[in-house]
């Protein structure tokens, strides 16, 4: 089928899934052992105050009504009001999101780069000690809790060696300001990008320094699967006839490896990146706490401590929607690049 029909079909499939996802979250956050509203009053709650609180959050309506409000809210981009100060959850989430995005991007970059590098090495020294070591390494890193790894990195490279800062996104007071031309202002919230837009190289380097340890922890834990993927893909391609032919023609080994074999691995790696996005977000939640990274993960953890149910619900919905969106994009990209799967 054509790309267009595939995209349409895929998008149509996503809709019931999203609906299910939203319903799932709604159900979870309504299966409560106690009354969430009562959890937010210091003194003996006056019934009128409790009622007012309930009304402000829309929790006084019947369950079906709440469900409809919730769904229409999501469509509008309204994820409810925080139970702590009634400010819009969606706004809070969007302000925390760029930090997590930046961490996720760099974590993924490190995971893929490490994965490809080690995967290639592993495939080329097939079945030797190096191969086994690398494969075990890939499995072992997955078994490490990412926050433990983060702590170890922090201890060694930050506390003992002082090579990297131990937490935060940048030195207090030096947040990158983004592009500022005349009245036009553009800031992405990604400190690396914003510092370049601002033209401030020292801020850029600082942003990278703060970014390195947390994204390295994330990347290391996730690289295992990319190692395996690259290795398998390389191994099978390197055995194919056209590769043997290329070698026979005298092409340099490096050309053979990188131009032919690796290119073949590209698509599965791309798909895997999309699939691993969910794992990446989960890892980010844990890493952000260790490194005081002010992103969505830490937001969720803080909201848990305060039993801010609307915020928890909002964050969980956001995560789900994000993952669904990314996997949709990856599927479409894959279909564009490889017509075979549209069948």
């Amino acid at each position: 089928m054509s790309l267009r029909s595939y995209v349409i079909a895929r998008v149509l499939l996503t809709i019931p899934m999203l609906l299910l996802l939203l319903t799932l979250v709604f159900l979870i956050t309504r299966v409560l052992p106690g009354d969430p509203v009562l959890l937010h009053f210091e003194k003996q709650a006056k019934p009128e105050a409790v009622e007012e609180f309930r009304q402000r959050l829309g929790l006084d309506k019947s369950l079906p009504e709440q469900y409809v409000d919730y769904l229409t809210g999501v469509l509008r981009g309204d994820l409810g009001k925080s139970m702590q100060d009634f400010s819009p959850v969606a706004q809070q989430i969007f302000s925390a999101f760029p930090a997590t995005l930046e961490l996720a991007i760099f974590g993924m970059i490190i995971a893929v780069v490490l994965g490809i590098f080690l995967g290639v090495r592993s495939s080329r020294s097939y079945n030797t000690g190096e191969d086994h070591v690398i494969r075990t390494f890939g499995i072992a890193t997955y078994a490490i809790p990412v926050f433990f790894l983060g702590m170890v990195l922090q201890l060694v490279f930050s506390i003992q060696l002082h090579w990297f800062p131990s937490g935060g996104r940048i030195y207090p007071g030096s947040e990158p300001l983004g592009l500022n031309l005349g009245g036009f202002h553009l800031a992405t919230g990604l400190y690396t990008v914003d510092s370049l837009l601002e033209g401030n190289l020292s801020k850029f380097v600082q942003a990278l320094r703060y970014l390195f340890l947390p994204s390295f922890a994330l990347g290391l834990v996730l690289c295992g699967i990319f190692i395996r993927l690259t290795r398998t893909s390389m191994l099978e391609t390197l055995r194919l006839d056209f590769v043997t032919a290329a070698r026979a023609r005298g092409l340099k080994e490096r050309t053979v490896v990188y131009t032919y074999a690796l290119r073949n691995a590209f698509l599965p790696i791309l798909t895997m990146m999309g699939l691993q996005f969910a794992a990446l977000l989960a890892g980010a939640i844990l890493t952000e706490t260790t490194f005081s990274w002010p992103g969505l993960g830490r937001y969720l953890v803080d909201r848990i401590a305060f039993r801010d149910y609307t915020a928890i619900q909002g964050a969980v919905v956001f995560f789900g929607l994000l993952v669904a969106l990314v996997s949709l994009m990856v599927d479409i990209l894959y279909a564009y690049l490889d017509p075979r799967i549209r069948l």
């Binding site: 106690g34 009562l38 959890l39 937010h40 009053f41 210091e42 003194k43 003996q44 709650a45 006056k46 105050a49 925080s82 702590q84 100060d85 400010s87 706004q91 809070q92 989430i93 302000s95 925390a96 930050s158 506390i159 002082h162 090579w163 990297f164 800062p165 131990s166 937490g167 935060g168 030195y171 207090p172 007071g173 030096s174 020292s202 380097v205 600082q206 320094r209 390195f212 080994e253 490096r254 706490t289 005081s292 002010p294 992103g295 969505l296 830490r298 937001y299 803080d302 909201r303 401590a305 305060f306 039993r307 915020a311």
Partner: protein, 581 residues
């Protein structure tokens, strides 16, 4: 070498270069540029005061910066630095009646029956927009906060302002009168509390509290008249991220040289560990609240930071739910109280940085007596004997639930609970089950009276023994604790002490009340927390007194001029000398 080996070597070399570059870059860029300083041009560059100080804290604004609503430590800290009250407590003093100093009021007097207070106001004080401060602003503040808004969780209701104050009248632009319902002895101390701070009527609407407004610090706080203005308040994802305080040119005490540091940046950290790392790495100049005891001790050994200690007026205590048998029996309560081991608690959990407390009133405050010393610490003989009378022994232990909050609201709560459990079980006749809840749930549990024994903490609203007795042991004042303790004799003693003005008489009454307190043992006082701050060595002006206030306007940091500047000056002198030959 074979092809394989060559590529391997190449890869290794590349890797080494990359690592070296990163490490080098890390080292080179590890020192951020110094903030701007002011210097003079004659003579050798003098020692100067830093223009900007950065403070790190794990606190955050709990609700807002409106004194009608704010009832948390950090909210009060900012209100105090951006606003003013009629009177103040002299920094560094024991905050007794003789330690009240003028602020917006220059003098005051009280009628003989103690029901009428008259304050004469300072003249020529201006709000930020140039409007003159008058008595009407005082009246407005109290009418609004106490009577009109009367926010249920706010301090005015919690302390009972409405029970104390009948009305506030502006007699003239410079004189304001308070008519009281009862002769409240600590009234002046109450006027120094942040809940009595004066708001700017133009910024404080009558019908609702002022809330955080994104991007507009001016609209986020009704405070004016203080040493600083809140120039920036940034929240990211609902959490306080950064605040900036800039010197207020209209501050009434600018002539006194305050504030000492023109700009303060406050950075919010999510936990003690990251705050500790921040002060150690020099990312912040000051770290205040809350660092772990072990980190404080560790930092005391480091030469790149200075540790300041003070008296804490923060107390923690154990509450008995008298609705649940057998805790309705004072003898059993006393038996349990005797098994508590305060020295182990303070030494193990706080490494000796907090002090055992044997009274509701903290050490160092007028009215304190070590009433609970009579029960002792880990006094297991007493415990066993007392409990044996009710049939509890090694084979029939008294089983109790001990609750603690688990979301970091108090310092090291899980540790405290573990140690308490160990102490109580050390008697051999008590068995403790630990239960925990995050702070919001913990509060609900307290209000619903479902926790058998629970640990709570307290910072003073105003520095007076009354604030440590009335909110706990008085049947009305202590109703928020929900422990169902009610002793008319205690009520009477506390009411009397509130109304008396003679310090000796009050001390007598409190001594009696605390003796009764030790007999009834509705609460077991545990410890009194020490306040400490960690700063860079060049920071001064840190006062950690019993008022528990962090006074931003007193703090400063000295800075020798940059070495290059010194060398440059020296070089210029030498060349001048040389060329003048």
């Amino acid at each position: 070498m074979s092809n394989k080996a060559i590529t391997r070597v190449q890869t290794a070399v590349v890797l080494v270069i990359i690592i070296a570059a990163v490490a080098a870059g890390a080292y080179i860029t590890s020192q951020p540029s110094a903030p701007p300083t002011t210097t003079t041009t004659t003579g050798p560059p003098p020692i100067v005061f830093k223009d900007t100080l950065i403070m790190g804290t794990t606190d955050a604004v709990e609700v807002s910066l409106d004194p009608a609503e704010s009832y948390d430590y950090f909210g009060w800290e900012i209100i105090q630095s951006t606003g003013s009250s009629l009177v103040d407590v002299r920094p560094g003093s024991p905050a007794g009646p003789s330690d009240i100093v003028p602020a917006l009021a220059t003098s005051w007097e009280v009628s003989s029956d103690g029901l009428t207070w008259t304050f004469n106001l300072r003249q020529g004080v201006k709000f930020q927009d140039g409007t003159e401060f008058t008595a009407n602003d005082v009246k407005y503040s109290f009418d609004r906060n106490v009577f009109k808004l009367a926010i249920p969780e706010g301090p005015q209701v919690g302390i009972g302002y409405g029970d104390i104050i009948k009305s506030v009248d502006a007699m003239s632009p410079t004189q304001v009168v308070f008519h009281l319902n009862i002769p409240f002895s600590p009234f002046l101390s109450l006027m120094a509390a942040q809940s009595s701070y004066i708001v700017n009527p133009k910024l404080a609407p009558e019908d609702h509290a002022v809330a955080y407004k994104e991007g507009d610090a001016r609209a986020s706080s009704p405070m004016d008249l203080g040493p600083y203005v809140l120039s920036s308040w940034v929240r990211v994802a609902g959490k306080d991220n950064e605040m900036r305080l800039d010197a207020n040119p209209n501050y009434w005490n600018v002539s006194g040289g305050y504030p000492k540091t023109p700009h303060i940046i406050i950075k919010f950290y999510s936990d003690a560990t990251t705050l500790r790392l921040a002060i150690e790495s020099g990312e912040v100049d000051i770290a205040f609240r809350q660092l772990r005891a072990s980190d404080i001790n560790d930092l005391k050994t480091k030469t790149n930071v200075k540790v300041w200690e003070g008296i804490g007026a923060f107390i923690q205590y154990l509450v008995f739910q008298e609705k649940m048998k057998p805790l309705d029996n004072p003898e059993i309560r006393r038996a349990i109280a005797a098994a508590v081991d305060r020295p182990t608690l303070t030494n193990t959990v706080f490494l000796g940085q907090s002090k055992p407390l044997y009274s509701m009133i903290p050490n160092g405050m007028a009215g304190h007596t070590d009433a609970f010393k009579q029960l002792g610490d880990a006094n297991y003989a007493f415990t066993r004997e007392a409990l044996a009378k009710y049939g509890y022994n090694e084979n029939n232990k008294l089983k109790l639930d001990l609750w603690y909050e688990s979301s970091g609201h108090y310092p090291q709560s899980p540790d405290q609970a573990t140690v308490l459990k160990s102490s109580l079980e050390g008697s051999g006749v008590i068995q403790i089950e630990l239960k925990s809840a995050d702070w919001p749930s913990y509060r609900v549990n307290r209000n619903q009276e479902i926790m058998q024994m629970y640990i709570l903490g307290w910072y003073p609203d105003y520095v007076d023994a009354d604030n440590y007795m009335f909110p706990f042991l008085h049947s009305v004042g202590g109703s928020w604790i929900h422990m169902n303790y009610n002793n008319p004799q205690m009520d009477d003693l506390i009411n009397q002490a509130r109304a008396k003005t003679d310090a000796a008489e009050r001390t007598q009454l409190y001594a009696q009340a605390q003796e009764l307190f030790a007999q009834d043992a509705p609460i077991v006082p545990l410890f009194q927390g020490t306040a400490w701050a960690v700063t860079k060595p060049n920071v001064g002006g840190v006062v950690l007194d019993i008022s528990q206030s962090w006074r931003h306007w007193l703090v400063y940091a000295t800075e020798g001029p940059a070495p290059l500047l010194q060398i440059g000056w020296l070089a210029s002198i030498i060349t001048r000398f040389a060329t003048e030959q």
